[in-house]
Amino acid sequence: MKKQKFLVSIITILLFFLILKESYAYFGVTKQSVSQSITTGKIIYDVIIDTNPNYIENNLAYFRVTVTNTKNGKTNPAPIKYQLTLQNDERSNGIFYYIDSEGNTSSETGEYLNTITSQEYIFSTKEESRVFKVYVKVPSGLKETVNFKINIKFKAL
């Protein structure tokens, strides 16, 4: 009987922590579409997508993606490795090219592609951020709306 009570208590405590952890992860998700950010139970990071209509250089539209290892004043305690993939969403027809805040580009030859995968980047345990300036073109040369999707894979090291 005592063993039973002990096991029930353990299970109750485990369930409590499990529920608490899931809630934390879900409530960390904010701002859909243009800007999203996530704080999971283990990795703290923030991603902001800025599609200001004035972001045009030499008639090329671009948007900015800012990735940081800080959220609400807290910095992830462990180093993070991350990688971005940019592609079209909902049958859009865009081609992409990026330059990051250190001057690294998605293509040394300046090639625009319909899917681009970044190199693997690392954040240390210090507060860090990196901005990706993503230029978008459409083959037609006409005014067009492009729906894009960004997948970011994170891994704590």
């Binding site: 096991l7 952890k21 992860a25 209509p53 004035n54 805040s101 005014k143 894009f148 997948n151």
Partner: protein
């Protein structure tokens, strides 16, 4: 009993597995984001039936279907945050060891302002000396910091030096101090946020004006064989342009037509005028001023009488004279030889004379002025004489706009309209004309104190136009300069470096706005844009870049381009 235990044990194992899996998920997360971006079309305006340049400028802001829709969008952005640069910039301090034993990294024949320490402002990119004094360079000042400026007291700068070694070179009566080894401090842009970019709206005297702000890249325009940057659509629909050289990639001095003094004369408030009037009278002003522009090691001449030449309008010392540093002869000078030009030449002349009344310090004296200077404020506004810079601009305009034709043989002047260039000489303190009082002109108060620029020009005499319908009719040609208010709306801020906004060229250049008249030393000051993009004030006498400003008529058509660097707007006259 056993069955229950087996069940609970199994449950425990399952929960353990779930927890472990959850942990690994959080360590190997994948997140997805979506967004929408509008890709601009080449020749958007022409393809969509928008023919007027002013309409095209508006719709290109957000690829709106109509100018009205664009205006609604622009006005919905609200007021520009003019107490911050656009874009907002975060600077990071950098340092490099530099040496130059031949000419010196920096050098002076006078004093440096020397500080024991400094602060660095990451928002403005400015270094500021602390615990400083203005003195001759000596061994005592090794490891001190200086902005390297050689006149006045300069305590803020974008490049600063820590002195490690220096050389004193004596040649005849002059001494040069060369800093031969130093640590140079400057900064780089760590982060630049395009928080405010594009067109914003405010009011001018004729309606709503739409002005460009921040690091815009779509306001290039080709006209009369030159490249211009669009500053704003004026309230009446005409389009204000600032000269930007002959290529969209021009920088530095290539973005100006040359350099000029704002005015070659400086000793009266009238010289802040784009045109000025010398309604002068010989005045012995009893107002006592603490005069501070005295060098403590210069040997000056002092006399017991003086004369004034009506033709040259210069003062000369007469009668019995003495000479010496101000510190060494001050008692004798005040008692018996009270007149001085503060000249190191015995026969030197001056535009105004000091009557010495008392000693403050080796570099400061109590004085009153004897001057041939403005009688009152209203007559100062009579706009009879061209400033030096107006002469330079008018000559350029006559040769390059007025007397130059397009491919149809039409003078480029036909494309332009006569709009107001504001030389705002209204003032918030002082009296606007006395040399013994400091006058603060309104642009100084608005842009430096309040950080609230305005496109309104309130005083008729300050509204420079060719005709008298809108303004003073004092211009020869419809050309002028940018105002400091326009530079502030564009993203410039007083003493806040900004190498990102479109008015940054890498060269200093004059604006049309008066700043202040200083009673000690007596100097008329005007506003200018510095080579690191911040807004500043200076005496009117230094030579700085000249960037003419003109206004295209409101009915000018777009003939091509989209305003980008590779494809600037081109313009045409209306068909009728």
């Amino acid at each position: 009993m056993n069955k229950k235990l087996i069940f609970l044990g199994t449950l425990l194992i399952i929960i353990g597995i779930i927890l472990a899996a959850n942990d690994s998920l959080s360590y190997f997360g994948t997140s997805s984001y979506t967004g929408i971006i509008t890709i601009p079309e080449n020749n958007y305006c022409i393809n969509n039936g928008i023919t007027k340049l002013s309409d095209c400028i508006l719709v290109m802001e957000n690829y709106a279907e109509t100018p009205e829709a664009a205006k609604t969008y622009i006005e919905s952005k609200g007021e520009a945050t003019t107490n911050q640069t656009a874009p907002t910039i975060t600077f990071q301090e950098m340092s490099t060891e530099v040496s130059n034993t031949t000419n010196g990294v920096i050098s002076t024949t006078a004093h440096f302002t020397l500080g024991k320490s400094y602060t660095f402002n990451a928002t403005t990119g400015m270094f500021t000396l602390t615990n400083y004094n203005n003195n001759e360079l000596s061994d005592e000042y090794i490891d001190y910091y200086t902005c390297g400026s050689t006149t006045g007291t300069y305590t803020s700068c974008t490049t600063m030096y820590q002195i490690k070694a220096y050389e004193k070179v004596e040649s005849g009566s002059s001494t040069t101090y060369k800093v031969t080894w130093a640590i140079r401090y400057n900064s780089k842009v760590l982060e630049s946020l395009d928080s405010e970019i594009g067109l914003y709206a405010t009011t001018d005297d004729e309606g709503t004006s739409y002005f460009y702000r921040g690091a815009v890249e779509n306001n290039y325009l080709s006209f009369a064989g030159y490249i211009w940057r669009i500053v704003r659509i004026n309230g009446n629909g005409s389009i204000r342009l600032i000269y930007s050289g002959t290529s969209t990639s021009a920088t530095g001095s290539a973005t100006s037509i040359g350099t000029s003094q704002f005015n070659s004369k400086y000793f009266d408030p009238t010289y802040v005028g784009y045109k000025y009037h010398e309604n002068f009278r010989l005045k012995d002003d009893p107002t006592q001023v603490n005069y501070t522009n005295i060098s403590d090691n210069n040997i000056y001449y002092y006399s017991d009488s003086y004369s004034f030449n009506e033709d040259t309008r210069k003062f000369t010392l007469n009668g019995n004279k003495i000479s010496g540093t101000w510190e060494s002869v001050n008692q004798e000078a005040v008692a018996s030889y009270p007149y001085t030009c503060l000249s190191t030449n015995e026969n030197g002349t001056c535009d105004f004379l000091l009557r010495l009344k008392g000693y403050n310090s080796p570099t400061s004296a109590k004085v009153n002025y004897i001057a041939y200077s403005s009688v009152d404020y209203p007559s100062l506004l009579n706009n009879t004489n061209d400033s030096t810079i107006k002469g330079k601009i008018d000559s350029w305009y006559a040769a390059n706009i007025q007397n130059k034709q397009d491919s149809d043989g039409v003078s480029y002047a036909s494309y332009l309209s006569d709009e107001i260039f504001c030389n705002d000489r209204t003032f918030t303190s002082g009296d606007g004309y006395s040399i013994s009082k400091t006058t603060i002109f309104s642009p100084y108060y608005r842009v430096l104190n309040q950080k609230k620029p305005s496109l309104s020009c309130t005083q008729q005499a300050d509204k420079f136009t060719v005709g008298t319908e809108k303004g003073n009719g004092a211009l020869t040609y419809p050309v002028g300069l940018i105002t400091i208010d326009e530079a502030a709306f564009a993203g410039g801020v007083y003493l806040s470096a900004n190498q990102e906004y479109y008015l940054y060229t890498g060269q200093t250049y004059w604006t049309m706005s008066p700043s202040h008249f200083n009673s000690s030393p007596t100097n008329a000051h005007a506003w200018y844009v510095t080579s690191t993009g911040y807004l500043n004030v200076s005496w009117v006498t230094p030579s700085r870049g000249v960037r003419p400003v003109v206004n295209l008529s409101s009915d000018i058509l777009i003939s091509g381009g989209d305003g980008t660097k590779n494809n600037p707007y081109t313009v045409a006259l209306p068909n009728n």
